[in-house]
Symmetry: C2
């Protein structure tokens, strides 16, 4: 299939909550995620990807080769062979890339189907992870659409990873000698290192009687062959190979004789299991894997009715998750992102943090302290109980100084010493995360939960005390201008003002900081104002009025400091460097204006009263906004600046060096709503909305259903090209921007506010929102062309002044009407 660019490579099927990919050769692999609890998988539109249990590095089930050529190799590959002619192909197109007469991939919510046909043989495969299980199901339906009988072979294949993905890819002098499998009753068990310290194994089973199997990759493929032409498939017979070392894999060979019009369903199950240590072997004393515990699970999931029920349950699960918040606006792109894809992406960030995507190899990063607090604002309304648990996990990695590990390990929940501490914005994010949780749930009991410092037993204090220390951490670390010290970095991990690295490859975030100077962050200052006000509100909830007043005073004071030292004349400065020189100022030759402080200062309320906010936002519009989104700073740094760090290590227009770092864009959208500019807010929203950008898929290249971390900025030759899709704080913040600030359905500590700031052209919208147990059916009316705000609500027909909904009893269904009034546009 020769590559020709076209505008779209698929379309949205909103009714089924699916993105439908019409051709396999998308500009980049367009992926989806399977699993939502402990067993996870990535799957691309051509069946590429891999699976893991909990930890993408340490419990990798299947092998994937990042950055290979062809891209996206390693996956869940099925081969169909016409045994009469020897013709064979992969219904997922990859890896054989044989022409398909039809092809359709549907990425849904935690499942993917790939359907295709060649020569009158149709194959449709559904991939999903059943709830409550640590396995994935491949349900394959093969249909003979010919008018003659067909003798077919179906081969499955996965290549096993030897568990630790990092070691697996580097330690060959050991790993080529350790691989072990068992094949029993048609089930392939991958048990490398099970003989020694592992008590876990993988299994790969098939619902049909086997004509054969393979477990040694290079036997199945044949010497010097790739996945595009396995020898077993080519000859039409498995080798029944048993792997001893080298590369264990799993392949079943099933023969299918299909009458014209006949469909056969074959189920494959790939799973992960653990045995109790004392029961690893059966019989005891042998080296034979104990299969007693896992066999019933395998047998159950090979049954078509179990699969059908499991898939239905998954659908019901997502209906429950998403049904609590649905909107109907004049804008289709808004609706499908809010109702389906943006919420879905938020849930994926909950599951994955930044660990495993097409750009995150799954071996490098733990859970980010800052990342997870931000992700939380996107999923707290969907899974409040798990958000609660996540908050307590995060807070337990905080130090008694209020400082925090920048990352923690998902398996141990311990702080990660490799990356360390000293990212001085981190503690404040905990306040913002907890505030979001409280606003959504009203569950103030979390504030009294005993939470240790650095996970040290006995050090527990109430969570509320953690929040106090978070705020104090900043207050105790102010620089010469009274602005917060930046430490290793603030939100922008790549603005490293104390690092001064001149050694190639040295990590900017962990290299020992220089001493003697004191770099300060205006961003953290803005964030502090916001966090102090949030904590004041929380203190009020606890009846701590004096403390609340103190926090508000601190916020006020910092607001003054920002106004005095953080304002550059037309926008907020970014920082002061190690030597006290401004960063993000007209005084600079490059990097004169940064997006982050314009957003965060306004979010904190700085400049709302005195016009600075409007001026800053106008500067953003003038200097940073592009048709593809708002770039991080301008002008881009054309050379490396040792006093700024990693930001200037990127070529201009990429990543932090004046790329469109999408995470920051919703801050500006929110700020625009705060100054009442709904048109500009919504315009920005649409510039990076992936559904909108679907129309330029040949430019955007990444998936049109989820946000990327970055779109190349105007200084890049590839301006408009997205990278690093899926795992980004962009998801959470855009969800907040569109739902809470543009649509204006905003949880607050005391209830749900309805305060939309809409584009003039809109004529209102409707929404259903579950909130603290009640369901609100919301209608916002607005004459098209009018800009303005809601001044009062009708709640079940009763007028309520202002925009704050009274909290309804759990189980109630409340009809809310709001009218936007204001001047015509």
């Amino acid at each position: 299939m020769m590559r020709r660019y076209q505008v779209r490579f698929g379309h949205f099927d909103d009714a089924r909550r699916e993105y439908v990919i019409d051709r396999p050769d998308t500009p980049l692999p367009w992926i989806n995620y399977l699993g939502s609890e402990a067993y996870f998988g990535l799957v691309s539109n051509t069946a590429g990807g891999y699976s893991f249990y909990r930890d993408a590095r340490l419990r990798r089930l299947t092998r994937y080769r990042y950055n290979n050529a062809p891209f996206d190799l390693g996956g869940r590959y099925l081969y169909v062979r016409d045994d009469a002619t020897g013709d064979y192909w992969t219904p997922s197109w990859q890896p054989t890339q044989r022409d398909l007469d039809e092809y359709e991939c549907r990425h849904g919510l935690s499942y993917t189907t790939i359907a295709s046909a060649r020569g009158g043989i149709r194959a449709e495969t559904l991939f999903f992870v059943p709830l409550g299980e640590t396995l994935e199901v491949w349900r394959v339906r093969v249909t003979n659409e010919r008018d003659t009988a067909a003798d077919l072979s179906l081969f499955s294949s996965v290549e096993f990873c030897l568990w630790d993905a990092q070691d697996d890819a580097t330690n060959f002098q050991r790993n080529f000698s350790t691989g072990q499998v068992e094949v029993a009753d048609g089930v392939i068990y991958h048990k490398t290192e099970y003989r020694e310290r592992r008590d876990h194994f993988a299994y790969f089973a098939c619902s049909e009687p086997l004509a054969g199997f393979d477990t040694q990759r290079d036997t199945f493929l044949g010497a010097y062959r790739g996945w595009d032409r396995p020898a077993a498939v080519e000859r039409g017979a498995a080798f029944d190979s048993v792997a001893h070392g080298w590369a264990p894999m799993g392949s079943h060979h099933v023969k299918l004789a299909l009458e014209p019009g006949e469909t056969r369903e074959v189920v494959f199950v790939l799973g992960y299991a653990e045995n109790p240590r004392a029961e690893k072997f059966d019989p005891p004393g042998s080296q034979t894997l104990n299969k007693r515990h896992v066999r019933p699970t395998i047998e159950r999931w090979l049954r078509p009715e179990t699969v059908a029920e499991g898939f239905a349950a998954l659908g019901a699960h997502w209906e429950r998750l998403l049904g609590g918040f649905q909107v109907a606006t004049p804008d289709t792109d808004t609706d499908r992102m809010v109702n389906i894809w943006n919420a879905y992406q938020c849930m994926v960030t909950f599951n994955m943090s930044r660990s495993a995507s097409f750009y995150e190899s799954g071996i490098g990063r733990g859970m980010g302290f800052r990342d997870s607090n931000q992700d939380l604002v996107g999923f707290v309304h969907i899974i409040p109980e798990r958000a609660r648990e996540r908050i307590l996990d995060i807070a337990a990695t905080q130090m008694d100084t209020g400082g925090a590990y920048h990352q923690y390990q998902p398996l141990t929940k311990r702080g990660n010493n490799d990356i360390g501490q000293g990212f001085n914005d981190d503690p404040l994010w905990l306040i913002l995360g907890v505030a979001a949780y409280l606003k959504e749930t009203g569950d103030t009991s979390i504030l009294d939960e005993p939470v240790p410092f650095d996970n040290v037993p006995g050090s527990e204090v109430p969570l509320y005390e953690h929040l106090r220390r978070s705020l104090n951490y900043t207050r105790e670390r102010l620089g010469p201008h009274g602005l917060p010290l930046i430490g290793r970095a603030d939100w922008n991990d790549c603005l490293n003002l104390n690092c001064f690295s001149d050694t190639p490859g040295e990590p900017f975030q962990t290299t020992e900081n220089a001493t003697g100077g004191s770099a300060e962050s205006v961003f953290i200052a803005g964030q502090f104002v916001l966090a102090a006000k949030e904590l004041a509100g929380i203190a009020d909830l606890r009846g701590l009025g004096d403390e609340a007043a103190e926090y508000r005073a601190a916020a006020e004071k910092m607001t003054g400091t920002v106004t005095e030292h953080g304002w550059d004349g037309g926008w907020f400065r970014r920082a002061y460097d190690f030597h006290g020189r401004p960063v993000g100022s007209g005084e600079n030759d490059e990097g004169q204006i940064f997006i982050e402080p314009q957003g965060m200062c306004v979010l904190g309320g700085v400049g709302l009263d005195d016009g600075l906010a409007v001026r800053a936002l106008d500067s953003v519009a003038e200097r940073l906004a592009t048709p593809h989104g708002i770039v991080l700073q301008q002008p881009a740094y054309s050379d490396y600046r040792i006093e700024l760090g990693e930001i200037s290590s990127y070529p201009p227009g990429y990543k932090e060096n004046a790329g469109i770092f999408c995470h920051t864009n919703p801050w500006i959208m929110i700020a625009e709503t705060m100054v009442g500019n709904g048109d500009r807010a919504f315009d920005y929203y649409r510039r990076i909305n992936p559904s909108v950008r679907e129309a330029i898929s040949e430019v955007h290249r990444c998936e049109p259903y989820v946000y990327p971390q970055m779109i190349a900025g105007r200084d890049a030759p590839t301006h408009g090209e997205a990278k690093n899709s899926w795992l980004t704080g962009t998801a959470a913040w855009n969800f907040v921007a569109i739902t809470q600030w543009i649509l204006g359905i905003r949880p607050e500590l005391t209830g749900l506010r309805i305060d939309p700031v809409l584009p003039a052209a809109w004529s209102g919208f409707r929404a259903t929102r579950a909130y603290r147990g009640a369901t609100y059916e919301i209608t916002v009316q607005k004459p098209a062309g009018v800009t303005g705000r809601v001044t009062h609500l009708l709640v079940d027909g009763e007028r309520v002044d202002g925009t704050l909904l009274p909290v309804a009893p759990a189980g109630a269904v409340v009809r809310v009407e709001a009218v936007v009034t204001g001047p015509a546009d």
Copy 2:
């Protein structure tokens, strides 16, 4: 080309010192090494492999994908295209795998040629790294053997690695945005991160005018294509792509119009260069790579005459290196290994240690303290000056306790904290390495060289003091039986008697050791006896007779301890475990006998007087010897034993768990010569001699010209299959076993000994040996069928009693005749 096993896949061309591979689809990639100073490359028989500058992890020039399918992808690929028909192929077979009418790869000493023909077009490529340069040359000769003119395109290709091979393979969220190149005057410059902290870059140049070029991999290949069918080659025209991010690569497109019979030579040069920091850019202040310094080098090496001279110089270099020691024996396999391949492999271990091979991914390991000392005994006679430097580097990583880092970093020469210390055999290897150096060179000045501890300036003491501390390190660390404590491990890194690891994936060598017990090593005891005697000899050289006597007494005492507590009745025990239980004893259910102490104790002289040595060696023959070599222990451990560690983590028959760990086999060969059993010594020698095993290449699978680390033992289903070729101490020790002990040409502190212990069937041999500046032309005569020893020598016709040659003046050429006398077999 369908794979059919055959016995051989090539043949030796001893006259040219080449191994000639006759078909591309060898059982595994059969590789060679380019470079011998700072710039290195691996190259397989199908042009797979990669290049690096000094450090295979941190300065990786080109990208290679280990354990890919097909195996061995990433390399120095040329494509020839017949522009009249569009037919294209790779003369190296990979990656297109198009059928070739002829194919021949010749691996020579630091160079490789791959020649092939298809459709009347012949292409022969020579790859080598010129002496004194940090670049590699590809000299391509394309010949039109048709009787009509041919219009051809030639495309080159390399894929650049973004320098740090580990980061390159994992950190995609950054690395997909950093790639940068320049193309100027037909030269492709890879300069990723040069804009920031790097002052080095790669270049790829071509001697011919270009029809086009490519630098972006996925443009050159086309979307979803691999190296087997690049879009640029398929269409016959490069895209002139300039990489911005993603995957920078280099490809030149050259058009060749060849008359019938015409040959054209095209030279490609791939190199590494650094610029002074102050002169990185040209013009200064720009971001344009300064090419002034490198351009003359590029121009020079694109000239055919430079290439011819450089290749001739490389040949002369190897003639110098190898010419100093050549033998002519009745056994061709012995001759070619001693004269060519074993010596060559020793030189490769000098260059690579254990860093980069087809099994060592180049990112995991530094220079081993123990490894390097052992490698040294294989190359000290070839490059004594560099051996001297290596010794001083190693010794400088020793601690003042006498202990040593187990590894040190090749770039910094600092001890590696990741792997740490506590391998209690390490210090003794320093004595053995220095002894080997002194025996070869007589250069006692090295003993007075000031050498620091742990590289701390000011801590220098004479090297001799390091040796004292090495010996004392053992003496001060004895266990309850008076045997040396084993620490983390002794020579066998996988016998971890203090580790007790039950956590999956936990490294056995770095996990904190248990305390309270005291595991002891019989192996170190034997090694101590050997080292103490060697140090005594060195002390004598320094006139320290008392000290020498003390060391000999210590050796004697330890010999008694071994005899008392290390003897199991029929063989030497291996160790005592943490709880004081014997390991490698008839008392054990498995692991009853280990090879290592049988070799090392006898090497130390233990058991030579009282018959224990003979009994131990008979036990080896009876219990451990297989037709494929001698296994490490028997019976193999069938299950994991937490008290033994990694050794039992391998499936039976692999690696340390009863694999044929080839490194240990020459110890037994030497021991057999020490008890006068030349037949058995030589029999063992031939069992693992790769040249002998060439005849069973379909079983052995690894290269037939170099030793592997391991051959699967009798407990493995793949018994006889080799793994981990090239980088192994096997090379050095086998060279010592055959040359010093079987052929008996053995350097000693006081001169060269001629004391062969030959197989009965031999009728003598001849040798040329350079030694301390003189050249000895040695003839050993022996009636076939006789076993016995040399009793006296004829030196230039003069009788010398005994077997020690008087040291001749430098420059002298000495004729030596020796006669073996003894009983008929």
